[in-house]
């Protein structure tokens, strides 16, 4: 029997029932850590299925990546080697690249497991942080729990190991748990219900599913706006479930959304939309790319480095969604928009008007249109999917 995480009230109730031991521990002011780990094991069996192909792939993936991570951790304590670092990183990329590239062939569409894209981020983050010497201790169970933490396994938010373990090893006093974790978590879950099972489901049922088969200009425009709102409410709703459940288990998972449609420009947009992903790409791909190319002289001008960085990072983000044309197009589109925004933010027009209230409103409206076009590409609607 397989349960999909958070897609309907039934699965919410089932997953919530796993939280009960953790809640009891929180009420008593005790550490939730180990109860959370046990709940996680049950939850993963429910998500992947017991004795299913998906579960076996998941376990094999975990085994291989754990060997890489723990092995590299012990190696790095004794010796520093960029060569080893490079190869460990490459090996850790292999599973997801392999799966993403063949999964579209009918023969291989059983490959992969729920959350593989997001689990991979946590694996890579660990390896990079080990290399940067930011990780003092790496207990095996903690590492495993971090990578497979069930509330956020299917679609994030993407946490960081150091932040996660700090929360994990805390024994939260009772009042703080009830006010700052339990109630907050429940509120978030209820908000998630309204967003995902209410608003997003409504838009999907009454607008998206009623779209005519022929594409006219009008239908594309309506679909664009409907899909943009649908995607937000669906994903923000999911993120609320994930973060809420996380809080109840004593982990303050990072937020994924901060009123994204109020952004004044695309750079600000990415600080407000899918925040954990853009921060991850920012810290581990974009910044390092810019710094390295400036340090080793590939780019003389900081502006060039930053703009190439935007294009590269966003294209890779597009590819990470899947190796299909419209995902790549989406990535490239976002990259180009960020480059244009970079020019825009340094322009005289911006500097002159940025304090004006009216300009503020207009720029938010314009930015929303750019966002909506991006989401239209992302939906694959134009590519006949």
């Amino acid at each position: 029997m397989v349960f999909s995480q958070y897609t309907n009230i039934f699965s919410l109730i089932i997953f919530s029932s796993l939280l009960i031991p953790g809640i009891v521990a929180g009420f008593m002011g005790k550490r939730i850590k180990y109860l959370g780990m046990i709940a996680s094991v049950f939850a993963l069996c429910m998500i992947m299925g017991f004795h299913t192909l998906q579960m076996y792939q998941f376990l094999i993936f975990l085994a291989c990546e754990s060997i890489l991570i723990m092995g590299y951790y012990f190696f790095n304590k004794r010796a520093k080697s960029d060569f080893v670092y490079f190869w460990v990183l490459i090996l850790s990329f292999l599973p997801i690249i392999l799966i993403k590239s063949v999964i579209y062939l009918p023969r291989f569409n059983f490959l992969g497991f729920v959350g593989i894209s997001y689990v991979s981020f946590r694996v890579w983050q660990l390896i990079i942080e080990i290399h940067d010497n930011h990780i003092e201790k790496l207990p095996f169970l903690d590492m495993l729990y971090f990578i497979t933490f069930f509330p956020t396994i299917s679609s994030g938010p993407i946490d960081r190991y150091q932040r996660f373990t700090k929360d994990l090893n805390n024994a939260i006093p009772r009042n703080e748990y009830i006010n700052d974790y339990l109630f907050v978590g429940i509120k978030k879950i209820l908000l998630g219900v309204v967003y995902k099972l209410g608003i997003a489901a409504f838009i999907n049922l009454y607008v998206i599913e009623k779209m005519p088969h022929e594409k006219t200009f009008l239908s594309v425009v309506i679909y664009m706006y409907a899909y943009t709102f649908y995607l937000f409410f669906d994903f923000a709703g999911y993120s609320n479930f994930a973060v809420g459940t996380s809080y109840i288990l004593g982990i303050k998972a990072p937020e994924n959304f901060n009123k994204p449609f109020l952004a004044r420009n695309m750079k600000e947009f990415w600080d407000r939309w899918h925040i954990s992903l853009s921060k991850w790409f920012g810290d581990y791909l974009f910044s390092r790319f810019v710094l390295n190319t400036l340090r080793n002289g590939t780019f003389k001008s900081k502006k060039m480095a930053v703009r190439c960085g935007y294009l590269l990072t966003m294209t890779i983000m597009g590819l990470w969604h899947g190796f299909t044309l419209f995902y790549v197009a989406y990535g490239v589109y976002q990259g180009i928009m960020l480059v244009i925004t970079d020019f825009y933010l340094k322009s005289k027009v911006y500097r002159k008007f940025k304090k004006s209230g009216c300009y503020d409103i207009v720029s938010r409206i314009v930015c929303f249109q750019i966002v909506a076009i991006g989401m239209l590409i992302f939906s694959g609607y134009l590519f006949n999917v």
């Binding site: 920012g282 810290d283 710094l291």
Partner: protein, 80 residues
């Protein structure tokens, strides 16, 4: 250490493009809109320039650069 404090102020002034920051070393720079996500790259480059320290984006947290005083303590920790 005075030297370090001055370097810290210099860096922050260049990043924030204003000398307001010298007046209030406890001003929250993020809230005031004076630094953003791109600033981290510039900060790293300036630290490398002035102190010869090669850092990574994840070597410091948001808190470490949120106020000038925090930044000074961070640098003191790194230089030791």
């Amino acid at each position: 250490m005075e030297d370090l404090k001055n370097i810290a102020f210099d860096i922050m002034e260049e990043i924030c493009e204003t000398d307001e920051i010298r007046e209030d070393p406890d001003l929250d720079l993020m809230d005031a809109g004076l630094i953003d996500s791109l600033s981290t790259i510039n900060i790293i480059l300036l630290i490398e320039d002035k102190l010869g320290l090669k850092l990574q984006p994840t070597d410091f947290t948001k808190e470490d650069i949120s106020t000038v005083n925090n930044f000074i303590s961070f640098l003191e920790g790194k230089v030791k």
